[in-house]
Amino acid sequence: MAVAAGEVFASGSQELHVLAVDDSNADGKIIERLLKISSCKATAVESGIRALQFLGLDGEKHSGYNVNLIMTDYSMPGMTGYELLKKIKESSACRQIPVVIMSSENILTRIDRYFFNSIIFLLHRV
């Protein structure tokens, strides 16, 4: 998927920078490795809050890192993938960043405007 996104975005000169958000450190390592194999620059963080910090959306006065794609787990403790998506889409700085949501549960109770311009990637049901 990262490779497909790379074809859309990369003009070949710049590496795609993907931010992976997953509360499971094991899964985060796997995603990071997969992305690196696909020639992406990858940063794995373990929560929505950390993701917002990384993006510079945590209200602190610092600019975030440049990110081309966000991949996030859906069900996470604290801030869910949905809540993270909402914050990203509400931010003028980051709303253009495509967001891929990974879920193995059919718990998407509503598809609303925040999901517009994001991709929901339903994993094999666990």
């Binding site: 509360d23 499971s24 450190n25 094991a26 899964d27 985060g28 390592k29 796997i30 490795r33 997969l34 194999i37 069900s75 193995s104 549960e105 666990v126």
Partner: protein, 150 residues
Amino acid sequence: MDRNHPHRQLALMRQSFFDQGYLDEQFIQLEELQDDANPNFVEEVVTSYYRDSARLILNIEQALEKKPLDFNKLDGYMHQFKGSSSSIGAEKVKAECTQFREYCRAGNGEGCIRTFQQLKKEYTTLKKKLEAYFQLARQAGPSETACRPK
């Protein structure tokens, strides 16, 4: 190859994990991501799994002591546990997670408690086996078997 050669021992040990149902193909997927530049990738992922899940186990234990049982919460924890156990290919642990979730949905507290004991047993058994495996792998040194199985 000498049958006591560490690489052969390693290969036999590894095969036994699959034959006895401790690990499934997902573990092989992890091995495929390992290479000379990332020679300890599988061990790193497994170590992360055991670190993350130790916390989860504590949470579940605490939740199992509350009366009445909050089956929704328990199911939520187990969903997480099953997910990460899947990621490393922990087949028997995964099966216990499935069983546990069925008992949650049925509101069967006894079943949950019993299954959780079984789950912890499988979890600990696998941990010991993998620790021995990685230790042997380190002693055996770099080899084809440890990285890209045919």
